[in-house]
Subunit: 205 residues, 3 copies
C-alpha cells in the first residue's frame, strides 16, 4: 500500500467513524432516517470543510472527492440498521473515534503547514479539523459539544498536531512523523478515557 | 422577463421567505427589533453564504449584491409589523417556504456544478444551501433545527438537486430542468406536510 | 506609535477581551482548563475567521499571524487563574468588551470595503466580525447568543460600521474616521447598558 493510498484510507476511515458517531446520536434522539443521514454527513465532513474554507482550498476535499460523502452516508446507514449492535460495541467505537481524532488532527495540521501557516496556527487548525465535526454534531441536537465536556479530547489532538510541527521542523520523514503523531494522539485519548484522567478546573470554583 | 431576471427574482423571493421565517421565530421568542433583524438576516443569507465560502465564490452573492440584504431586512420589518397577520397565514408561509427550498436547492446545486463539483457533492451542497439558513435560525434560539425534526425536508431539497444533476447529464435545457426541479421539490415538500408523511425511524428504537 | 501598529494593538486587544469573555463563561460553566482554552480561542477568533472565509482572505488574519492566537490563549489563562478578580471587575470587562465591539466592527467593515463590497454588505460584515465570536461562544454552551438578548449590541456595531462607510464616501482621512467610529460604537454600547435602554418589541406581543 503506497503512502497516499494509506493516507486516503485513514482519512476515509476517520470520516466513516465520525459520521457513525453522528448517526448513532441521531438514533438515540429518535430522529428519522433523513435526520440520521444529515447528522452523519455533518459529523463526518464539517471539520474538514471548515479547515478548507479557512485555508482557501476550493473546492474542499470532502466535496471534490465523492468517496468522503459515500463514507459518511454508509456510516449513516450502518447506524440506522446496526445501532443495536454498535451500541453494544462502545469500546470499539471509542477506539475508532480516537483513531479518527488522530488522523484528522494530523491531516489538518499538515495541510495547514502546506498552505504556509505558522506552527501555532497550523496546530489550532489541526485541532479544529479533528473536533469540528463533533462540535457541529452536538450543536445540531443542542448538546454542549463533547470537546468542552471531555477531559482530554482537544488536548490529544493538539499533541498530535504538535508532533507534526516538530517533525516538519527537524525534517523527519513524513511517514515516520505521521505514524508517531497518530499513535500518540490515539494513546493519549484512549488512556485518558481508560484511566479517567481529570483535567484541573479553575482554582476556587 | 428574461431567464436571469427570473432567476434573480426567485432567489430574492427565497431569501425574503426564509428571512421572514427567521423574523417570525424571533417575534415568537419575544426578541426586540434588533434580534428580529439579526435572525431574519441569518435565516435568509446563511445558506448561500456557506455555499459560497465552500466553493470559493468571493465575495459571496449575498454580499456582492445589496438586494439580498435588502430583501432580508424587509422581511424582518414585515415580521415586526405584520406578525399577527402572517401568523394567521401559516399555510401561505409554508407554501412560500417550500418554494424557497426548491429554488435554493436548485441554485445551490447548479452553482456547485458550475464550479466543477461531481454530482453527489453538488447535490449535497444544494441541500446545504437550501437548509443552511433554517439551521442557523433554529440554532441561534437553541432549538433543534427543523431539518432534523421534519420528516421530508432535506429529502425534498435532495430530490430537486438530483433533477438538476440529471438534467445536466442529459444536456436538457436549463430552463426546463430548473422549472421541473423547483416544481418537484415544492410538490414533495407540500405533499409531505399535507399528507403528514412519516419517514422510518431506526428499527428497534 | 504608527497607525498600523495602533490598529494591530487595538485588534489584539479586541481579541484578548473577547477571548476573556469566552474564558470567563467557561469558568462559570465549570469547564476544565481545556474547555476554557477552547472557548477563549473560539470567542476571540471566530468573528474574524468568518469574515475572512467569506471575503476569501486566505489564510485568515487570525491564522496568518500567531499573535492573535497568543492573545486568545493568554486570555484563557487569565480567566483560569484570575476569574475571581475579573468577576469583581464586571464594569471594566463590559467597558473593554464595548471597545472590542467597536474595533472589530470598524476593522471588519474596512476590510470588506477594501475587498470591494458595497456599503450595506460591508456594514453587515462589520457587524458579523464584531458579534461572531460572541455568537459562537454562547452557542457552544447552548445559550441564546447575547446579540439576540441584549438591547443595543448589534446596533452599536452597525452604527460604527456606518460611520466607516460614510467616512470612505466623503474621503475623510482614515485615522479620523476610525477614531470617531470606535468612539461612537463604544459610547452607544456603554450608554445603552448604563441607561438600560430598551429596544421596541413587535407590537401586540
Amino acid at each position: 500500500m503506497t503512502l497516499p493510498s494509506l493516507a486516503l484510507t485513514l482519512d476515509l476511515l476517520g470520516t466513516f467513524v465520525f459520521a457513525l458517531s453522528g448517526g448513532m446520536l441521531a438514533v438515540r434522539r429518535s430522529l428519522d432516517v433523513f435526520g440520521i443521514m444529515v447528522l452523519a454527513v455533518s459529523a463526518g465532513l464539517a471539520g474538514g470543510l471548515a479547515r478548507d474554507a479557512l485555508l482557501g482550498a476550493h473546492p474542499p476535499a470532502a466535496l471534490a472527492d465523492s468517496r468522503y460523502l459515500t463514507a459518511a452516508l454508509l456510516a449513516g446507514l450502518a447506524a440506522f440498521f446496526g445501532h443495536r449492535l454498535i451500541e453494544r460495541m462502545t469500546k470499539p467505537v471509542m477506539v475508532l473515534d480516537a483513531l479518527g481524532l488522530g488522523f484528522f488532527a494530523v491531516a489538518g495540521c499538515q495541510k495547514a503547514l502546506l498552505y504556509g501557516l505558522s506552527p501555532l496556527p497550523a496546530m489550532i487548525l489541526g485541532v479544529l479539523t479533528a473536533v469540528g465535526g463533533g462540535v457541529v454534531r452536538d450543536l445540531l441536537v443542542t448538546e454542549i459539544p463533547r470537546v468542552l465536556r471531555e477531559e482530554v479530547y482537544a488536548l490529544a489532538a493538539l499533541i498530535g498536531a504538535g508532533i507534526v510541527v516538530l517533525g516538519e521542523h527537524f525534517s523527519i520523514p513524513d511517514a515516520l512523523t505521521v505514524t508517531v503523531a497518530i499513535a500518540v494522539t490515539f494513546a493519549v485519548r484512549v488512556l485518558s478515557v481508560w484511566r479517567n484522567w481529570q483535567a484541573p478546573r479553575a482554582p476556587g470554583t
